[in-house]
């Protein structure tokens, strides 16, 4: 990890509490261009809270979140999305009544320009725009290998596919920063491998294979991954941040984290003198 890489997103001394419950305590971290940052920690450590603060769902009481030199703390979620920050959810949050293709088209919202008046007239501007964005959406469908469910309503799809559609929807927004909240939760080994491959491929970029989709062509330079599966995290993350009870307890490369006694203590508990744990 070289330090000359540009810092894309910086979190300074973030504190968030719900009444007496302190969800995040003085957490600072930064995410640089060209890295996959994993946030791990036991249940209730505050991992998702960080993502929710970046998104603007939660309004942290203290601290700042700076994206590309711009303060985005307490900004409205849709404005954050417009800046190019997309995410997936731990519990899938798709538009259940729409087809796979329309879910992805709906994510193009921030990149489209037509309003309901040109939409009502349809022929002309709206039609042209639909086709233009459809082309990109089809490339994302192609990339994620979900062609067969293109016209299926997502509400009826199996869990693994819905997770994949949700990743597709996040990609369709063409984000600069992608926040993934447990993309592998509840999946079997093969599905995990598939998703891991998609994440790495989307991160690296696919070049000329997908000429109409900048996000697939050039890759997403910055990914934040919240995940419980240590195999996946150690395998694909460049850097790991460990949270425990709202505090950052460690930061480093996968190898450093594996050897960190604080982390082992948080996950496995501390051995007492009597050895009962």
């Amino acid at each position: 990890m070289t330090t000359d890489q540009q810092v894309r997103l910086r979190i300074d001394n973030l504190s968030l509490s719900f009444g007496g419950v302190r969800a995040l305590i003085d957490v600072s971290l930064d995410i640089r261009d060209g890295e996959i940052l994993a946030i791990i920690g036991p249940n209730g450590a505050g991992k998702t809270c960080i993502l929710n603060c970046i998104n603007g769902f939660y309004k942290p009481q203290q601290g700042e979140i700076v994206y590309n030199g711009q303060k985005i703390t307490r900004m409205r979620p849709d404005k954050v999305a417009k800046l190019g920050i997309a995410r997936t959810f731990q519990n899938i949050e798709l538009y259940t009544g729409l087809t796979t293709q329309d879910n992805l088209m709906a994510a193009r919202h921030v990149l489209m320009k037509q309003n309901f008046i040109t939409g009502a007239l349809y022929f002309g501007w709206a039609h042209k725009e639909e086709i233009e964005h459809r082309r990109t959406v089809e490339e994302i469908i192609d990339f994620l290998e979900i062609e067969s469910i293109r016209k299926k309503v997502v509400g009826v799809l199996p869990y693994g596919l819905r997770k994949r559609v949700e990743l597709g929807r996040a990609l369709a927004l063409e984000p600069k920063v992608l926040l993934l909240d447990e993309p592998m939760a509840g999946m079997n080994l093969e599905e995990k491998e598939d998703i891991a491959r998609f994440i790495i491929d989307a991160f690296e970029g696919q070049g000329a294979t997908y000429p109409n989709t900048p996000v697939l062509r050039d890759g997403i330079k910055t990914i934040i991954l919240v995940e419980h599966d240590m195999g996946v995290v150690m395998g694909i993350a460049d850097r790991i941040i460990v949270l425990d009870f709202g505090r950052k307890i460690a930061e480093g490369t996968p190898a450093e984290i594996k050897a960190n006694p604080e982390v082992i203590k948080a996950y496995l508990g501390q051995e007492t003198e009597a050895g009962t744990g």
Binding site: P77, L94, Y95, G97, A106, A107, Q114, G119, R134
Partner: protein
């Protein structure tokens, strides 16, 4: 929904087309020709029914975008129709506007009032929003009744018939054409709105408000846009109604109409442009059935039984649809279409 055997899409424009095959185009034109030939076959009574159905379709299109697509349940739709109706009535009767200038003003006025009463939707949802829209209906009607000097209050006011270049839309047939032309246009616009950017934003809000916001949909503007579009349709329908009757009173916009419009949506299928048409036609035809069966029932059983027959029938139909086919007639129609697409080989 698959394509008929042997038909393949080449390019996205074909894939997006509503009318894809030659048969579909033929069916569309056959329907339009039959529709506009109606005055040749039918008498004034049936034309009146069809005109009222047309006005209901326009109104329910608005409610469908607001409630069926954006999930902002409105029980004040008749009230918003009244706004359009009185705007148009006042402009034509008092200020000598032509109907053609008054109609867009009516649409705009209803839309703006819709936005005002839509403001609570940013804070309240579901049941509480229903209460807010119910209040909207009664406030609107109350204001109209109070402005006696302007609107004639409970006495109502006379409204001129529309005219164009000396031709007055006085006959039932001519007004039928006017309403149906606007209904067709309204259907075209409604379908296009829901299949483009704004429509997908509405559906996103309906299906998952949380995700919609994270994916960049501004809830504030899009909910208000849904209210605006929904009430513009209501305003047009209200204006057409008072110019048809040539008289405006608040009795034309009873609260129960708001409920029946929602009923039409339920019967037809929420969130479906075809469903709007199915719903409006079927509930209005049910009314006609009641006017036929009613007198027979009155003679056979008792006048009391006949007087409430209409309410009972409508209530029963809506109830049965909620239980057995919550997705409405539109969904049945889809099932029939897919069945015949594969017939006689069902697998």
């Amino acid at each position: 929904m698959g394509l008929p055997s042997g038909t393949f899409n080449q390019g996205y424009a074909q894939d997006m087309a509503i009318f894809r095959t030659r048969t579909q185009w033929v069916m569309l034109f056959a329907f339009l020709i039959l529709l506009f030939a109606c005055p040749l076959f039918f008498g004034d009574r049936i034309l009146t029914v069809l005109t009222i159905i047309g006005i209901s379709i326009i109104s329910v299109h608005g409610l469908n975008i607001l409630t069926g697509y954006c999930n902002q349940i409105s029980m004040g739709h008749a009230g918003f129709m009244a706004v359009g109706a009185y705007t148009s009535a006042l402009l034509t009767a008092k200020l000598d506007f032509s109907f053609w200038a008054a109609l867009p003003c009516a649409a705009l006025a209803a839309g703006i009032v819709g936005i005002i009463f839509g403001l609570p939707s940013l804070r309240v949802k579901g049941f509480y929003l229903i209460m807010a829209t119910v209040a909207a209906h009664f406030i609107i009607i109350w204001v109209i009744l109070q402005l006696y000097g302007v609107t004639g209050g409970a006495d109502g006011m006379a409204v001129p018939r529309p005219e164009i270049g000396g031709f007055v839309f006085k006959s039932k047939a001519s007004y039928f054409y006017l309403v149906m032309a606007i209904a067709c246009l309204g259907t075209f616009f409604a379908k296009n709105i829901v299949r483009t950017r704004a429509g997908r934003a509405f559906i996103a809000i309906r299906d998952n408000e949380l995700a919609a916001e994270v994916m960049g949909v501004n809830l504030w503007t899009y909910k208000l846009q849904a209210f605006f579009i929904g009430c513009v349709y209501a305003g047009v329908a209200g204006s057409l109604l008072v110019h048809y009757v040539a008289f405006a009173t608040t009795d034309q916009f009873p609260f129960m109409n708001s409920v029946w419009y929602l009923g039409m949506l339920i019967v037809g299928g929420m969130g479906s442009t075809m469903g709007v048409i199915f719903g409006a036609v079927s509930l209005k035809l049910l009314d006609e059935l009641v006017t036929v069966v009613g007198p027979i029932l009155a003679a056979a059983v008792s006048p009391q039984a006949a007087s409430s027959l209409g309410l009972i029938m409508r209530g029963l139909v809506i109830l049965l649809f909620l239980i057995f086919e919550p997705r409405g007639l539109a969904h049945r129609w889809q099932m029939v279409k897919s069945y015949y697409r594969l017939w006689p080989f069902s697998h």
